[in-house]
């Protein structure tokens, strides 16, 4: 009875993680009678009696309060529509767009035009994911200017950002690039020096490929030192 795996083991769908009723199923873990079973490919995470699987792949599922990056796809009478890689587009209503008051007859494209990229916050997820509302008001959101766009698996985003932003700050400081990371796996970056941009891109790709292997922070420090050192 008990655990059949260790913390941070790589597990696959259908793999039994625990027997008996001592442990409880959490994210991406299923209970079938007295067994806990993984529903995804990922790393097992055991916290007290909760067993969850941290998926190593899969599409982003929108959640309230997440910050995401998307592209303004159309403008309506009372707001904008944004494509952020989800099957359904999100809405920014006029009152969630800017602090100032926007008149009914105003030309909305003066604020956000079609094709603009934005870093926005999800304020509402409803209808099973069909209705997503975004806000462009607040300190952590803004319109993004010219830059490159990368896609990373949304499961890897926490590693790209790091604890309290430590990993992303490491990359920003080393390469002098501006970088914004959306929970949806979209990463925007822009630097004065294209060579530094390339190093930042490479660093993010490295995190995507190696996030599940321990010692990532040290490896990333060493990688950035070597890459930037060479360029200097």
């Amino acid at each position: 009875m008990g655990l059949l795996v260790q913390d941070k083991d790589i597990v696959v769908p259908g793999q039994e993680l625990a027997e008996g009723m001592d442990y409880l199923p959490s994210t991406d873990v299923l209970r079938e009678k007295d067994k806990l079973v993984s529903m995804k490919v990922g790393l097992v995470s055991i916290n007290n009696r909760f067993v969850k699987v941290v998926s190593l792949s899969g599409k982003y599922l929108p959640k309230r309060e997440d910050i995401v990056i998307g592209r303004v796809s159309s403008i309506g009478l009372s707001g904008w529509r944004v494509d952020f890689g989800w099957p359904f587009e999100a809405n920014i209503s006029v009152r969630d767009a800017v602090a100032e008051f926007i008149e009914k007859t105003a030309d909305l494209s003066k604020y956000f035009a079609i094709g603009d990229w934005v870093l926005a916050q999800i304020t509402n997820v409803a209808g099973g994911g069909k209705i997503i509302d975004l806000s462009m008001r607040g300190p952590s959101v803004r319109k993004l200017g010219p830059g490159r766009l990368l896609r990373v698996t949304s499961a890897k985003v926490p590693r790209v950002i790091g604890k309290q932003g430590s990993m992303i700050s490491l990359i920003k400081d080393a390469t002098q690039c501006k970088i914004s990371v959306g929970q949806n796996g979209f990463v925007w970056l822009s630097g004065e020096d294209p060579a530094m941009e390339a190093i930042a891109v490479h660093a993010i790709e490295k995190i995507e490929a190696e996030s599940h292997i321990s010692g990532l922070t040290d490896r990333m420090k060493a990688f950035l030192d070597a890459a930037v050192g060479v360029k200097a």
Binding site: I10, V12, P13, G14, Q15, E16, D28, L30, E32, V37, M39, K40, V41, S55, L56, S57, G58, K59, L61, P87, F88, G127, G128, G129, K130, A155, A209, E210, H212, I213, G215, R219, A222, F223, A226, A227
Partner: protein, 237 residues
């Protein structure tokens, strides 16, 4: 004919050599290739993504949509005219029915998970190989599932029940009975069951026991491929 030794020398409960690899189509959400004997299948998954027309989407959960296709040069004889045939449409449908029962698509209502299966070379057991590749591709795509689905055919030839019929056995002039099965070995449930030929109820029972053994062997290959993607050592630069 009395079948005492298989044409290719295998044991009666032995599958042909297999290999599998995950993450073979870079742009897809998930993908995998699966080879058994000379049959070579590649599967790629996109989704969950928008389902059009929206009016036909399922409002309570995502739907699975499978598309099976043989490349024109993949058949043993003449070129296969491109485009869906009645056979490929049927296989697309049974593939979907083989995989859907293990998937949990309640988290994405109104969407579709598309699975595309292509056969680069066919040498018996093609629909089964397609299902094996598709199951790995769905896992690689992070679609929540209760178990991996494994699939292989079992047959009756010369009075013997054998696992994973070769093309030679399938085409045998005296007639071989071919039973294609897909199952979740953990839950012990059969999601695909198709048969061509003649078989007694007793022989069918025997065949189902043998096919489970085959599916368990295949599942090990599938699990290994999924793990291998994450098992590369960290490269130091």
């Amino acid at each position: 004919m009395v079948y005492t030794q298989r044409f290719d020398g295998r044991k009666f409960d032995e599958c042909r050599p297999m290999s599998a690899k995950v993450g073979v189509v870079e742009r897809a959400t998930g993908s995998a290739m699966f080879r058994i004997g000379k049959t070579y299948a590649v599967a790629a998954v996109y989704g969950p993504r928008g389902f059009y027309p929206q009016a036909l989407a399922n409002p309570t959960r995502g739907v699975l949509r499978c598309n099976y296709n043989m490349m024109a040069f993949s058949g043993a004889g003449e070129r296969v005219r491109p485009g869906p045939s009645r056979r490929s449409k049927e296989i697309s449908l049974v593939t979907e029915k083989a995989l859907a029962p293990v998937l949990d698509l309640t988290g994405f209502p109104g969407t579709v998970v598309d699975v595309f299966i292509e056969l680069i070379q066919t040498d018996a057991g093609t629909r089964c190989a397609g299902i094996c590749a598709a199951a790995m591709a769905l896992a690689d795509a992070g679609i929540p599932m209760k178990d991996l689905v494994s699939s292989v055919a079992v047959g009756r030839i010369g009075g013997k029940i054998v696992l994973d019929l070769s093309k030679e056995e399938e085409d045998h002039p005296e007639g071989a009975t071919d039973v294609a099965v897909a199952m979740s070995t953990r839950m012990n449930t059969i999601n695909l069951l198709q048969m061509d030929g003649e078989i007694s109820a007793e022989e069918l029972k025997e065949a189902l026991v043998l096919v489970k053994k085959g599916c368990e062997q295949i599942k090990q290959v599938q699990i290994k491929a999924l793990r291998e993607k994450y098992q590369q050592e960290a490269k130091h630069e």
